[in-house]
Symmetry: C2
Subunit: 319 residues, 2 copies
């Protein structure tokens, strides 16, 4: 039997299961796109925290443009899973990264959700193959991995597990695209997906340099913000290196610089996370950035909007 | 004897030695900052190419704000080194990345340049210790490594060689700061400096994913431009991970995610640059980005300006 999933246009309500930073960020995004959100979270104070995050995100979302009928109060919070998924057209699970917890939760969600509804997990660390083992209907379980904050960063990486139906992966990709996300559909599971692998590679090298006393936290961050980071919202690493090849482009670059891939520019293994390295990194961050996490989040969000607007304007002008 | 280098305020003219993409980019920047530029380049057509690059960069530089008296025609191109460095207060060498060529050229520049002038090399690949071996006065030779395009990206990494005087490194850092650059002064030579090591780590992982068929060129670029790349102009990788720790910040992040440093998210060695990988990367770039190099450069430059303005505005508003 092939299940037909819901037509995107028919969906008015979505469920956000577990509304920590990521789940609440998803809820804010869905509200801004005009959906009703039914949240589930058993933690005490979950509703107040969700409301606080939505309130904090709303000015940014308003600036980016709300969908007709969007209402930041159009949500409910329940501690009853069946109540949270009743009548929804889509489920986004964003529980803490704990394999056993996710396995059980996805099975529980699956058991109470209508069969024509796709259920996506925000996991950044697990493959759906290992998370879906307890679910009765693994065919409709997919990973829909967002980036923080999910209400501003467009990227969503979509991938299924071994038991996921191709139609569910296709539906989820189409759905995220329909609601305005930038979707990357992967055809098989790769730990860390794509963007996190790239970030992780950079992060490891940063830790190595701090460990070796070659750079401070402040220098590492400024080397990106005032250097290649200024290019990355408009051109990714591949086109960046394409331009490094001059008029000869990527072909010239690879033929000319290929041998330096072999040079010892990066370390070949992850550094040991000793107490010393851990403390040096923490102290370095405190020294480089004395402002509070909330202040940094507000500045980051304002910048992401301004950068997206700037890049969109430039793209419109240059095409 | 300790040489006193020139007071920054007294400098009106600088020499740009070799004006390919990087050297001409430096020349455009110096012109925009109100300096006279004396270029040296023995290649046929060098003057026309320099003029073309300065003309192309000038609207962007005008938008960012020209120094009083800035004149895009205030340059000369010579094939005589002594003529190019006569009367200048600073020399920026940007010859092709060829160790023997740079060794000889730096010795030749050193031989004809007044002793109170610091000479910087734009090299991205060599240590000054290995480049300065033929020079009579290695004490005033430093690396001043820019990012492409040098007329827009603020970052300059400054480091001396074993024979470089600390005073020359200090002078060069102060000078680049004086002319509006974001300076990172390194206290010892590290291959690739800082930002390129970070870029290189990311680039290697991207090549691995293409090699393994896990991601396309287009997916890799979009995973950055629509994902973490939107955060990097405002917050570097360290503060990004600081925020990934929630209110607990970097300490929580390291204590919570530290073990995953050991996970196999990134490969431990550089991929072999086989013809197959080389061709797949080149074809992938052509497919992902059919526009010409010139069109991409124009779009990149416009975006860098818009992003810098957006980020500066946000920083002003949030502090």
């Amino acid at each position: 039997m092939t299940t037909s999933y819901k037509p995107f246009e028919s969906i008015t309500t979505v469920a956000c299961i577990s509304v920590g930073t990521i789940g609440a960020g998803w809820a804010a995004y869905f509200l801004a796109r005009g959906f009703r959100v039914q949240a589930w979270d058993p933690a005490p104070g979950a509703e107040a925290r969700l409301r606080a995050l939505v309130d904090a995100a709303w000015p940014a979302l308003t600036e980016l443009g709300l969908a007709p009928g969007a209402d930041k109060n159009n949500f409910s919070v329940s501690t009853d899973l069946a109540e949270a998924v009743a009548g929804v057209g889509f489920v986004q699970e964003s529980a803490p990264e704990d394999l056993e917890l996710k396995r059980k939760l996805l099975a529980d969600i699956d058991a109470v959700t209508a069969e024509d509804v796709v259920i996506a997990s925000s996991t950044s660390g697990y493959a759906m193959t290992e998370m879906a083992t307890a679910a009765a209907t693994p065919a409709r379980l997919v990973v829909g991995h967002p980036f923080n904050p999910p209400y501003l960063i467009p990227l969503v990486e979509v991938v299924g597990g071994e038991a996921t139906a191709a139609a569910a992966v296709e539906w989820a990709s189409g759905w995220y695209d329909f609601i305005g996300k930038s979707v990357i559909t992967m055809d098989h599971e790769v730990p860390g997906f794509i963007a996190n692998r790239l970030q992780e590679a950079l992060w490891r090298e940063a830790l190595h340099m701090i460990n070796a006393g070659e750079a401070t936290v402040e220098q590492i961050d400024r080397s990106i913000t005032d250097g290649p980071g200024l290019r990355w919202p408009i051109q990714g690493p591949m086109v960046t290196f394409h331009l490094a090849g001059g008029q000869g482009g990527m072909a010239h670059m690879l033929d000319h610089f290929g041998p330096s891939l072999k040079s010892p520019w990066t370390r070949l293994d992850a550094p040991e996370l000793t107490d010393e390295l851990r403390n040096a990194v923490v102290a370095g961050v405190d020294e480089a950035e004395p402002r509070s996490v909330d202040e940094l989040i507000a500045e980051r969000d304002a910048a992401i909007i301004a950068i997206q607007k700037a890049v969109a304007q430039v793209r419109t002008n240059s095409r």
